[in-house]
């Protein structure tokens, strides 16, 4: 959590929220996600810092 950039939190990527993977860009990076209604594209290296449970 501490490694996660503050900006990502500010853009709505918060602990306890649901993440939906919408699309993966060609060549497998970046990822296009919907988190808590925020539609964001982040690079894989950032995404790896986010801990998730599959639901």
């Amino acid at each position: 959590m501490d490694l996660l950039p503050l900006k990502l939190l500010e853009m709505g990527c918060l602990p306890g929220n649901e993440v939906k993977l919408i699309q993966i860009a060609p060549f497998n990076d970046p990822l296009y996600i919907d988190i808590n209604g925020s539609h964001l594209a982040i690079r894989r290296e950032t995404a790896q810092q986010i801990e998730i449970d599959l639901i």
Binding site: L6, E10, M11, L14, A25, Y32
Partner: protein, 699 residues
């Protein structure tokens, strides 16, 4: 009594903040720079009734007050500096009704600074379609402010927003959130050291120092010495602040906002499935690129021809109407063509920014960035670099201006540095004439013209050079950048014509005024250097007349010979002779040397300069070409423009940094002479070495 109100317009990116600004100010806008940095400062005024003038500052879009870029830094510096002349009496936070949760984060932060803050919820016209209902009175009560539901697209709610601004002093300045909630223990300590200060402001100053540094703060003396927490801990507290704020927002919206999420399959997801598809995404993107190319190369040809002809005619007219003399010559041959040289770029630049504005406004640009990021990253660029690199094939100047969308400074700098390698339209006339001279007009495999293939190769070469040098720069530049890659994928929107038009006009104006001054100055200097000279220059007429006295030539031919003689003996001709030893190993003579020197102002001057030197007297391509073909190498004999020297020239024009305007714009965008000077030196060195190698190898 006349009333004056300072308004600061804040908001997340993609909330339509700029459309709100455009609606409020109309065309009463001023675009400048914040002192010392290249962040655009947009401000405007509007009148409320007779006695109330409102000054509106459109601050850069930001997700929070915790800054991570130079643009966002502007926001916090203003809001913390009460002495700034633009310090707002009232802040208006623009929010998108569909992203209210995220947008409220910034609102609560601004509100906590003790500035009266109005919440303007934009795109209210979408509420019905998206089945969103808001309990405005309740929300106003919890947020302790007034809310205007507006729609800049449909022009709804602006009268009420103006009314709220006018009566800003009735708004509460109480904070939404008690800062101590973030960490009671830490804030208690702060309060003990600075008993009279606003804790949230203090907190912002302290964390800001950690993240960004050098904040101008007379009010907060002694803060720098307050170091009780490690940067890691402060960062943790910032995370906690964000989470605490979101908790407050979530609770607030639970009571006031209802979304009927039946229509989940909206336009966005349907369009995204096509536009970011691994095949269709690229096909559509390259289709759009083709369209932009078509506009820049083809459609803008007509206005450009018209401008060219008009300025030539104006020049003629000035020459024939004004009293003869050096001053008239300066106007007709220096200043008017100089201004023409600026104006002629307007169609291309306007078209380019028209398309870029449409792509930005519609939300498509984020998808391109998403598609291209992985590929571009391999070369130290960002997905966002694709726009400048493509735009560079028209002209490096608007392309470099378009790099402003790249938040990461290192990626942006690399993009700025490599963009001039892409084959800009000014190189095209040079390539065309040299290729037609030295490449045989034959066909390869029966269909492909060898000349056409060569031209295409020059484009590939330019793009390859850009990508390759980006890769090298990425390896050698040691720049630490804090920002990282996160792109919001906004909803698709139909671009508002007014917004697109204003962007186009503003950018074009910035070019004409910014780069224009330099182009004009250079063309005047060139004119002076070509129009004056020492010694023999001043007796040109007598000398030439004597030389041709025995030969029977027409008045016109004689005039051309005089012009040619004058040029050879003018200051610029002397410079050409002076640098001849340096360019001879590349296969050029002093005349090409002069053309090279003048090309440093702008590449397209090459053909025109040779025309003057070869005393053709007209810019007609065919005559210049036949004249160039007949030119003999003074030392080796044989044609001067042969395969070896031609290839050498092509390479020189492909790599050399021969464009004063580009250097000027790089200086403006990087805010230092260091980068343009490096560009000039390194690109020219590469050009020289490659041309030298090519000529020596091929001759």
């Amino acid at each position: 009594m006349a009333k004056h109100i300072n308004v600061a317009l804040l908001g997340n990116p993609n909330t339509g903040k700029t459309s709100v600004f455009n609606r409020l100010t109309g065309l009463n806008q001023k675009v400048g720079n914040y002192p010392g940095i290249t962040v655009e400062k947009k401000s405007g005024t509007c009148k409320f009734g007779r006695n109330c003038t409102v000054h509106i500052l459109d601050l850069p879009g930001t997700y929070s007050l915790n800054t991570s870029s130079i643009d966002e830094n502007v926001v916090i510096e203003l809001l913390l500096n009460k002495n700034d002349k633009d310090f707002p009496d009232v802040a208006v936070v623009v929010a998108d009704v569909e992203n209210l949760k995220r947008n409220l984060l910034l609102y609560t932060q601004v509100k906590d600074l003790g500035i009266p803050t109005i919440l303007a919820i934009n795109m209210a016209d979408r509420m019905e379609r998206k089945a969103i209902t808001l309990d405005i009175p309740k929300l106003e009560k919890i947020l302790n402010t007034k809310i205007a539901l507006i729609s800049s697209r449909k022009n709804i709610g602006f009268d009420y927003l103006k009314e709220l601004i006018e009566n800003y002093n009735q708004l509460s300045t109480k904070p939404c959130l008690n800062a101590s909630k973030i960490s009671p223990e830490y804030f208690d300590r702060l309060r003990k050291v600075f008993p009279n200060q606003d804790l949230y402001k203090l907190w912002l100053v302290i964390t800001h120092d950690v993240n960004f540094g050098k904040l101008d703060r007379n009010e907060f003396k002694g803060v720098a010495s307050f170091q009780t927490e490690s940067p890691e801990n402060l960062k943790r507290l910032q995370h906690k602040e964000t989470i605490t704020r979101y908790q407050f927002i979530n609770e607030t919206l639970k009571e006031t906002l209802k979304i009927d999420s039946e229509n989940a399959k909206d336009l966005r997801s349907r369009l995204d499935r096509v536009l970011t598809h691994k095949v269709w995404g690229y096909v559509i993107f390259f289709g759009i690129l083709m369209l932009i190319f078509q506009a820049i190369f083809d459609w803008s040809e007509y206005p450009m021809d018209f401008i060219d002809r008009s300025f030539a005619a104006l020049s003629e007219w000035a020459k024939s109407t004004l009293p003869a003399g050096q001053f008239t010559n300066l106007i007709a041959e220096g200043i008017i063509p100089g201004i023409g040289g600026i104006v002629i770029f307007i169609p291309q630049i306007a078209f380019l920014f028209l398309f870029i504005a449409i792509l930005e406004e519609s939300g498509y640009m984020s998808r391109v960035v998403f598609l291209m990021d992985k590929i571009m990253r391999k070369f130290g660029l960002s997905g966002k670099s694709i726009v400048p690199l493509v735009a560079g094939t028209a002209c490096a100047i608007p392309a470099i201006m378009a790099t402003r969308n790249i938040e990461n400074w290192k990626e942006r700098l690399i993009t700025i540095l490599v963009t001039p390698f892409t084959t800009c339209s000014a190189r095209l006339p040079v390539y065309l004439i040299i290729i037609s001279l030295v490449i045989p007009d034959t066909r390869v495999l029966g269909i492909f013209s060898l000349q056409g293939i060569t031209l295409m190769f020059m484009y590939v070469l330019g793009f390859g050079a850009a990508i390759f040098s980006a890769w090298v720069l990425d390896k050698i530049l040691r720049i630490k950048t804090k920002s990282f890659f996160v792109v919001e994928m906004p909803n698709y929107k139909l671009p508002l014509p007014k917004n697109v038009l204003i962007t186009m006009v503003e950018k074009t104006k910035a070019f004409v005024i910014g780069a224009g001054k330099i182009i004009l100055a250079i063309s005047i200097i060139l004119w002076v250097l070509a129009s004056y000279g020492p010694g023999e220059f001043n007796n040109a007429e007598t000398i030439v007349k004597k030389e041709f006295a025995s030969k029977n030539i027409s008045e016109e031919e004689l005039g051309n010979h005089i012009e040619s003689f004058k040029l050879e003996h003018s200051y610029i001709g002397r410079i050409g002779h002076f640098i001849e030893p340096a360019v001879r190993p590349l296969g050029y003579d002093w005349k090409i040397g002069i053309a090279l020197v003048t090309s440093f102002a702008a590449r397209e001057v090459f053909v025109g300069t040779l025309a003057t030197i070869y005393s053709v007297g007209s810019d007609d391509e065919q005559t210049i070409k036949s004249r160039m073909a007949a030119e003999v190498n003074p030392i080796l004999g044989g044609p001067l423009f042969n395969f070896a020297s031609g290839i050498s020239l092509l390479l020189f024009y492909a790599f050399a940094m021969q464009c004063m305007s580009t250097l000027a714009i790089v200086k403006r965008e990087t805010n230092s002479w260091k980068w343009p000077m490096w560009q000039l030196i390194i690109m020219s060195a590469i050009a020289y070495i490659l041309s030298l190698a090519a000529y020596q190898f091929l001759k």
